[in-house]
Amino acid sequence: MEVKILSEHYHKDDFQGLTGYKANGGYEMLKKAFTMKPQEIIDLVKAAGLRGRGGAGFPTGVKWGFLPDNGEPRYLLCNADEGEPGTFKDREMMERAPHQLVEGMIISAFAIGSKKSYIYIRGEYDDSINSCRQAIKEAYDAGLLGKNIMGSGFDHDMDVYCGAGAYICGEETGMISSLEGKKGQPKLKPPFPAVQGYLGKPTIVNNVETLASVIYILRDGVDAYRKYGTEKSPGTKLFSVSGNVVKPGNYEVPLGYPLKDLIFDLCGGLKPGRKLKAVIPGGSSAPILTAEEAMVATLDYENLAQHGSMLGSGAVMVIDDSNCMVDLLGVTLHFYHHESCGQCTPCREGTGWLDKIVHSILDGKGRLQDIDLMDEVAGHMMGRTICALSDAAAMPTLSFLKKFRDEFEFYVREGRSKVKGQAHAQM
């Protein structure tokens, strides 16, 4: 069963505009927030156990608590650079319910004492950019942004900043670099953004879905929020389901929801005659699950970690038995090769190396030692770089090789795909 909290009003056409949004209770929680102390809101978010919905799952309230009390201006950045392959939940929210994001951001900004925020949206999302800009304009016109919002004495300015095509800008410090007008290369940590972020000032970066969730924690209270989900993964989450399912799309379910039910109930299962082969449960960087693992896994941070994978951004990619795993790893590695920012040597060189090896295999020129070599290269890319892109390339590699080794060995031995019957070079 879907539990629609964030996506409750998605189907209403007028929800995009301020009038429609207000008609459905919009900006009531902002009013409520102004009756509270900022610290009360932070405590509430902490107590609700909200975890970042962008990928890392870091507790939001704890992150907010890292801000130093040094009187420096603070920035709130909304991470709308949704680039993890398989993920398209933020885009839908920005297109259908931009005010939900804007309201969540103003409340969060009030909580953390920020006077300026940016929504960093990937440049390709033209509709999202336009709808967010429109929503911000409407909010300014209605006195919901700017000076002395709703007579609260709180000032806040908000702007949209467009990316220009770089996956790495979804990494929070990469995004900060990009917003500073540079290449979107991640920055060394420490210092962490909460201490020294955008232009060296304390900065909080939160995902679209995370910021919107704050509204509903305020509306329903901690207990009601925690009614859904598990002890360590409370609340509902948007999952983007794609790949070989009959009804792909975004689905909001409580965390801890069985992956099997998501695929076979909500998404209508696979195409007739097809068998489930594997599932990537949290975006392309999440280690792949075999069909057997997928049938028992639940969609929460702990359970997927137990299966050696992760919830990530909530992008579920369903793979049926018509797919060649060597080919899919090739596609995945091409992506990471293309997106490596080039800063850290292990990632810059490793992603290219892996991409070339897997494509040598796909060309029918693989050597048996290539499989072990990929394993070793990927192993040495893990935990060795500034950001997690290197790990994001290594993790699928290691899991594909481990769980579908027979397909790789077959490809190397026979020079052709076990599934497709011929080498991809000939296709």
């Binding site: 398209f88 999302y125 220009a164 095509g165 290449k183 596609v331 920012c341």
Partner: protein, 163 residues
């Protein structure tokens, strides 16, 4: 020599004052330059922008070459970008891209003889639930088949020629 239009210069000046740091204006200004330079950013455009913005050209060039949405060489009037990452790849995106290339007799990344079409395979555009898909200009076209994709392109070609 490329020069920004008066409106373009105004845009740059506004952007320079819009953010906390001047440098933040580089990304939006490069979009402006690309728009006014027929869809790509030439080296001389970089130099021109560096002069207008009073920012070292190397800083602008670094940004230009880092982000994929800036074209570093000319493209056709319709820049057909077919997403070819995982979910799209599973749903026939690569075959679709090849089909479009064949149809317009153009190699990937090159401009068709009539100057109309450039086809490139790009990485995930965040439209995985509606695969396969393509982006032309700012617009997304989703749930494509080979036929519907060609239909879309033909339609846009017509509109573009009529303008």
């Amino acid at each position: 020599m490329f020069q920004l239009s008066p409106a373009g210069i105004d845009f740059v000046k506004t952007e320079l004052n819009r953010y906390e740091t001047k440098r933040s204006a580089i990304l939006p200004c490069l979009y402006k330059v690309q728009e006014e330079n027929g869809g790509w950013v030439s080296p001389e455009a970089v130099n021109h922008l560096a002069d207008v913005m009073d920012i070292p050209a190397a800083h602008i060039n670094e940004v230009l070459y880092f982000y994929t949405m800036y074209n570093k060489k000319p493209v056709g009037r319709l820049h057909v970008q077919v997403c070819a990452t995982i979910s799209c790849a599973m749903n026939g995106a690569r075959e679709l891209a090849k089909h479009i290339c064949d149809k317009y007799q153009v190699k990937e990344g090159e401009i068709s003889d009539d100057g109309m079409v450039t086809v490139t395979k790009v990485e995930c555009l965040g439209s995985c639930g509606t695969a396969p898909m393509m982006q032309i200009g700012n617009a997304y076209y989703e749930n494509l088949t080979k036929e519907s994709a060609i239909e879309v392109i033909e339609d846009l070609k017509k509109k573009s020629t009529n303008q």
